[in-house]
């Protein structure tokens, strides 16, 4: 059995009396790090907070002096602009609606994303932070290829290249440590990344790509337009 307790050592008897801490599994960062250097909140933290806030307000003020908030003509329900776009943070969703039926793109997928985010800590995901290739390599490889294959076929069916291409690129990076076993800093780094890291990174890349396409590359009739042809 793995040793599941450790003795916390300290040279400063007044600060840390000798004690034995029973730590089941790996938990919060605060139990991992022992005897950490502490600083006073005033001034160290509070001064930093004040500076950060002031810099932020100054940057906002400069931006506000340079760029005006948009204001178009008064709302007219009889005159639909083409394309009609939601604000930028929903354009990833609007892009999804372009590929999938409304129930899937507008309800199912976003609901799934929020639920997936909420359950992250409960699946003890990444708690141990074990690299993807640390277990049975063959089985990991087969599972990975099958899952990515299924996702890719679905994406291909709906012709969602905007999601398919990033998915394949990320998968390519995932399998690099499987094929290249030579000692190399980059390969080693890739091999140590846990599955949760890959899933989150995949999610973020997809969100960014879809949002960017919806914002910059979509024109009348949701057709593909290059940014230099106009941003709608």
């Amino acid at each position: 059995m793995e040793k599941d307790f450790k003795v916390e050592e300290s040279t400063d008897v007044k600060k840390t009396p000798k004690r034995i801490a029973f730590i089941k599994g790996r938990t919060a960062a605060r139990v991992k790090q022992e005897d950490e250097e502490m600083v006073m909140t005033v001034p160290h933290l509070v001064v930093r907070e004040i500076i950060a806030f002031e810099v932020m307000v100054i940057v906002l003020a400069i931006i506000s002096l340079l760029f005006d908030a948009p204001l178009e003509w008064i709302a007219n329900p009889d005159h639909t602009p083409n394309p009609a776009k939601a604000p930028w943070y929903f354009l990833g969703l609007q892009e999804l609606l372009h590929y999938f039926p409304p129930v899937v793109g507008g309800v199912l997928l976003p609901a799934l994303a929020v639920v997936a985010l909420i359950v992250i800590p409960y699946f003890r995901i990444n708690v141990k932070g074990i690299g993807l290739w640390k277990g049975n390599r063959k089985r990991t490889f087969v599972t990975l290829i099958v899952s990515v294959g299924i996702v890719s076929i679905v994406l291909l069916m709906f012709e969602v290249f905007a999601m398919l291409i990033p998915t394949l690129i990320i998968t390519a990076f995932m399998v690099v440590p499987y094929f290249f076993t030579k000692k190399n800093r980059f390969v080693e780094w890739l091999g140590n990344l846990p599955l949760s890291w890959w899933v989150m990174t995949w999610f973020v890349v997809i969100v960014v790509v879809l949002t960017a396409i919806g914002t910059l590359f979509r024109g009348p009739g949701w057709s593909w337009t290059w940014p230099w042809e106009g941003i709608y």
């Binding site: 790996r26 938990t27 919060a28 605060r30 790090q33 950490e36 250097e37 600083v39 006073m40 909140t41 005033v42 160290h44 933290l45 509070v46 930093r48 907070e49 950060a52 806030f53 932020m56 906002l60 931006i63 506000s64 002096l65 760029f67 005006d68 908030a69 204001l71 178009e72 003509w73 008064i74 709302a75 007219n76 329900p77 602009p81 009609a84 776009k85 939601a86 604000p87 930028w88 943070y89 929903f90 969703l93 609007q94 609606l97 409304p102 129930v103 507008g106 309800v107 929020v114 985010l117 909420i118 992250i120 800590p121 409960y122 990444n126 708690v127 932070g129 890291w197 989150m200 973020v204």
Partner: protein, 236 residues
């Protein structure tokens, strides 16, 4: 000058407000945090590692900062804004051309709102990649996800208020997405949100109340819990 100030700092009036001396010794520094309502969200001492800017990137703090800027500029904008048609739109024009610094005020509110959505999202990424959602912080992560949704809703309800073409069609697109919800739920929710079947006067009033009162109050309560738990769980 110095002795004069010292007399002020030691006066009964001053001491009744601030129960500690100037933060000159570690004791009074600790007391400054301890006895101050606003600072007591912090512990009196923090780990040097978590104070390092490149650990949190200050993103949670900046989210709070943006919320404060938005509250201040938003309250000022409310002085000039009437949530009805066509006054809402003409008030925007007045802000641009009549009210002193009205355009600046509007710009600050608008850009800070966009920034807040992005910064809160980045804060979530920071928390994920540093593994800071691990027990015992798992519920605070959940509160965080709800805060992200609330932040987006805040921004989105504000988007309708200028009542220009951007607002109207932006909200129409969004409420059409809501309508896609199955079991007739979509129609009911969108009817509830809009106070009707189309984006009209009642929708404007509802979005106004949601944007200026209901959602900010919910956000403040959630933030209160969020910070309290960061503190209890041994965070920054």
């Amino acid at each position: 000058m110095r002795t004069y100030l010292e007399r002020v700092f030691e006066s009964q009036v001053w001491r009744s407000m601030f129960r500690h001396g100037l933060p000159e010794s570690n004791r009074t520094r600790a007391e400054t945090v301890f006895y101050n309502f606003f600072l007591h969200v912090h512990p009196t001492k923090v780990r040097r590692r978590s104070v390092k800017f490149t650990y949190t990137w200050g993103l949670g703090g900046l989210s709070v900062g943006l919320f404060i800027v938005l509250t201040v500029t938003g309250a000022l904008l409310m002085l000039y804004y009437r949530p009805s048609i066509p006054q809402a739109y003409s008030d925007m024009k007045d802000l641009q051309f009549v009210v002193s610094s009205g355009q600046f005020l509007r710009n600050m509110h608008r850009w800070a709102a966009h920034a807040m959505v992005a910064v809160v999202f980045l804060h979530m990424l920071r928390v994920f990649y540093t593994g800071s959602y691990r027990p015992p912080k798992e519920f605070n992560w959940v509160i965080g996800v709800i805060l992200l949704v609330v932040t987006i809703l805040l921004s989105y309800t504000g988007y309708l208020l200028p009542w220009d073409q951007l607002s109207f069609w932006g909200i129409s697109v969004g409420t059409n997405m809501v309508r896609a919800m199955p079991f007739g739920l979509g129609d009911q929710i969108s009817f509830l949100l809009l106070g009707g079947n189309i984006v009209g006067e009642y929708a404007l009033v509802r979005f106004y109340v949601l944007h200026c009162f209901i959602i900010p109050v919910v956000a403040m309560i959630l933030m209160g819990i969020h910070f309290w738990r960061v503190r209890k769980d041994g965070g920054v």
